[in-house]
Symmetry: C2
Subunit: 193 residues, 2 copies
């Protein structure tokens, strides 16, 4: 499950207790795919390797209290119609979605919207680099899967999940380290340049 | 003044009465630089010319009421540390900020943050295309100004605004039409390709 900035879970009608953005302990615990990607992006940005940002969570603002310093008092999370990350790397446009799972056998794709699939298809059409970063948390393994392979799989197989074996075969393992935590651009360099 | 999706004004501590996202009359009135750019982006996307999206407004969520369908009850607008728009056009990464003014003589730059200036500088360093779209509403004129020219101006002149004459000289006029409303990619094509 990809997390929002500040640790808010990306779940439009969540049933669990929310993790608030003020919860620094959660934010800084250094776990989870999204925080690894964000830390890697910070590294890439500070080292001038690439400029990649997470898109903010779209929120539909209904009511704002301007008497109290523009406090938003009524709003809702909206579904992201694009992907979570994009940016520029060696002149090329780069666009990707991060998904993680506790499963050891497959990645459920029910939370990938048709809008996001369409978005990735269009990125490819316009000559951009489009992919998924997939984290199998229980296995401590992370893969980069080209959007082209994902789209081909979706077109041929009517499944609700991507098998781990298939991702391991088709995707490229992303090395885990200190700086950056997830060197996914090393894999991008090998696959696309 | 760039507007948020749904017509919320981009003003972190606004003094005016808020325009709510439910105010469809405002949203669809077809005026304002941002709605023109959004309509143009819709056209570019639907005609498969380019894939350019507005980044959502970053919002710091403090409290969510999960008993009422994940209603956000306490949140604040945050400053955008990047620009408002980015995407891909003919394989190239494209990144820009839109600013408009009622002034006929200059564009105030006080609302362009140092983070945004730094962001645009980095976009250029990584080989992306970076610019401003500047709307002089009282004159019904819109210009594309390369971020390179903006940065050079900022480095030499210690001013708090960009003079209209200078923008007219350095920038490129963006034609206004029906489809798209603001054909800024025509100008990008001429300037960068």
């Amino acid at each position: 499950m990809v997390q929002y900035p500040g640790g808010i879970k990306k779940n439009y009608l969540p049933k669990k207790k929310p993790i608030l953005s003020t919860s620094k302990g959660f934010k800084n615990r250094g776990m989870g795919l999204e925080s690894d990607i964000n830390a890697s992006n910070d590294f890439y940005n500070s080292e001038n390797i690439a400029l990649i940002h997470k898109r903010p969570t779209p929120i539909n603002v209904v009511k704002v209290d301007y008497q109290r310093g523009a406090k938003i008092t009524h709003a809702y999370f909206e579904k992201q119609s694009t992907t979570d990350y994009n940016g520029v790397f060696q002149k090329r446009y780069l666009d990707f979605e991060a998904k993680s799972t506790q499963s050891k056998t497959s990645l459920p794709i029910s939370n990938i919207t048709t809008h996001q699939v369409e978005h990735l298809r269009r990125v490819i059409e316009h000559g951009g680099i489009a992919f998924f970063i997939i984290g199998f948390e229980a296995l401590s393994e992370t893969y980069l899967l080209k959007a082209e392979d994902f789209l081909a799989f979706m077109a041929s197989a009517k499944r609700q999940s991507l098998p781990y074996r298939w991702i391991k075969e088709k995707g490229a393992a992303i090395p885990f380290g200190m700086r950056p935590r997830l060197d996914y651009l090393k894999v991008v360099q090998q696959l696309y340049f």
